[in-house]
Symmetry: C2
DNA sequence: CGTTGTCATGTGAGCGTTAACAATGCAGTG
DNA sequence: CACTGCATTGTTAACGCTCACATGACAACG
């Protein structure tokens, strides 16, 4: 052991290790790269020298000659949100176990130029592939246009994106939620949608709508929010104006929280008077008042699957899948119940 | 304009640009590095050739010769949580505007070996500095031991860490919350603390305790949670056993959410019977039932300040500050009110 | 005993860039 | 007109590594 760490005041290089071990630099390289053509005794001498000098290979030099940076890039818009943050986390873990580094670049705005700019930034860093966490239609649209010498994979960007990627089956989740509410006896289900420029919002809305249509239930007007609890609160106030509302399907949990708050304030019983369903199953959802019935999606899994897809492309594996669809799951909690008896004369 | 993008089937290099522009590769390099000793006309010819070939400099080659990777590393434990996610976001943005790339490495576990491992991983990637988002005592302790050839800065790791860093003044925030509750006339304030191995949890608890001590108020036993809403719920159930509780200061908003839920379930009025204060001011806090009085800390700002600190160290600026303390702010909402009249015979 | 093959190791070139220095041209000066 | 000085450009050598190939040793083979 030991931590000389410098040779003549500079970081040790391969030649220093070679000299100390009494071999050529190439033999050191072989040891480092697990080349089988090295005698066991020599290998140990080299490893000893490496430890003695606390030598670390220079990645820039290696990248220069191998043309492989071992780095993947992640482009994202707002990693402050629970979903994107969890996907990023999943990506990093999967990347590490696949032997890649992860470099991040966030988007200034959602237009195509910004997406191209972020991809270029990563390209400047010689990433071998790019993952994009940007579920907005505009970003995905831009993605299809992006010039990139390396593979690009979208994570959590709806299901119809033109680029390869991993996504949750939003429509199926929305259908499950809506069907469940109908089964409880509600005449119809109102919907608090996400921003219309998000693919997920579109898909959830479409799923909700298709179930109502299939069941012959009336399709109420949609109230739109921006995913925030604040916007859910406002949507809730709006829904309160209509006394016929007995069931609400919100496009995410945060908006559902806002809706719950508006209903609570107004003295409506949940689920006695009105049932509420969310989407995402954030960790707090079971501690809302009341605990929220919601559609669980596993963001971490999504990130991991996306990364696997990208690695397969980077390493040029044959028979590469282009799209992975992860199934969400309806989680039933206390915010949903059978429809209240219809008001007399309704 | 144009996107030849390849020369003889490979990425164009500086020599290709030079040939097309009719200059030497060194002149191309000068243009790229804004060297003033280039005639305007030549510069334009070179820029044209660069665009024509869609040439991008090879960062590995540049890093190899300049010994500067333009990359900073971020070590974090769980970027799924709102605080860490926001700090990471702030860091990335500040890094971009300072001209650095950001590479991430998450911790397997919280022991010293894992911290060293993550730092080494980044070091292998030739980062010029490392930011650590790991507010646990164990991680910070390990940090002080970490061997690293590059500067290390801690972000949001309490105020007494031994490494340089940016942190929120947790004690001040906790004092403000506790004082406010006492001013409202509560005889004392109960505390739902975070995990004792987090510096923030320790500091908040210390701030709370000091105010009670100074005011001569009784110091109730602390209930500890793990930051999650679930643990807050359990803490709430525990607090309900004691009828004298009229004010609760929770070490974060998620636990406060759990407490609110437990109290709501038990039919206690908030704030009529019991006042509750949180810490963090997550975006949802104003939509809890009731809206949560809490201590706001600006995580993004924290990340930016930490990054500035690191950049100053990396670029060897004189008079570098070692620590930055960001002041939190008490935000008053509907979950707090004057103490209820003391029960007769109390 | 020469030939062939295989293992273990070394040698030299080259990856694409920047740094240091050299060279050129041209204006201004005495 | 030679001489200095400055602006502009070119030439060459690193940077630290891997790849392709060369070399040497030694066993197996006919």
């Amino acid at each position: 052991m030991g931590a000389a760490n410098t040779v003549n005041g500079r970081q040790p290089v391969m030649a220093d290790v070679a000299r100390l071990a009494g071999v050529s630099h190439q033999t050191v390289s072989r040891v480092l790269n697990d080349n089988p053509h090295v005698k066991e005794e020599t290998r140990e001498r080299v490893l000893l020298a490496i430890r003695e000098l606390d030598y670390r290979p220079n990645s820039a030099a290696r990248t220069l000659v191998t043309r492989r940076s071992q780095t993947l890039g992640v482009v994202s818009f707002d990693t402050t949100l629970y979903g994107p943050a969890s996907m990023l986390y999943g990506i990093e873990q999967a990347a590490r176990s696949a032997g890649y580094f992860v470099s991040i670049a966030s988007l200034r705005s959602l237009d195509g130029r910004s997406v191209q700019e972020a991809v270029d930034r990563l390209r400047d860093q010689a990433v071998e592939g790019v993952l994009v966490i940007a579920p907005q239609t505009s970003a995905v649209g831009a993605l299809a246009q992006v010039r990139s010498a390396v593979p690009v994979v979208a994570v959590g960007s709806g299901s119809q994106a033109r680029v390869p990627g991993a996504a949750v089956d939003n429509e199926a989740g929305a259908r499950a939620a809506t069907q469940y509410l109908l089964h409880l006896g509600h005449r119809t289900v109102h919907h608090v949608a996400g921003p219309s420029n998000w693919l997920d919002a579109q898909a959830r809305r479409a799923g909700w709508r298709s179930v109502l249509a299939d069941a012959g239930a009336p399709v109420p007007e949609v109230v739109s929010g921006d995913w925030s609890a604040r916007s859910g609160y406002e949507a809730g106030l709006h829904l309160l104006e209509n006394p016929e509302v007995t069931a609400v399907f919100c496009a995410n949990d945060h908006m559902a929280l806002g809706v719950l708050r508006a209903l609570n304030e107004a003295g409506r019983g949940i689920p006695g008077d009105i049932s509420v369903v969310g989407f995402d199953d954030i960790p707090e959802a079971s501690y809302f008042t009341p605990p929220l019935t919601t559609v669980r999606q596993d963001f971490g899994e999504l990130g991991r699957r996306g990364l696997e897809l990208l690695v397969a492309q980077v390493e040029g594996e044959a028979g590469t899948k282009e799209r992975v669809l992860v199934a969400p799951e309806l989680v039933i909690r206390g915010s949903t119940a059978a429809a209240p008896p219809a008001p007399a004369g309704g």
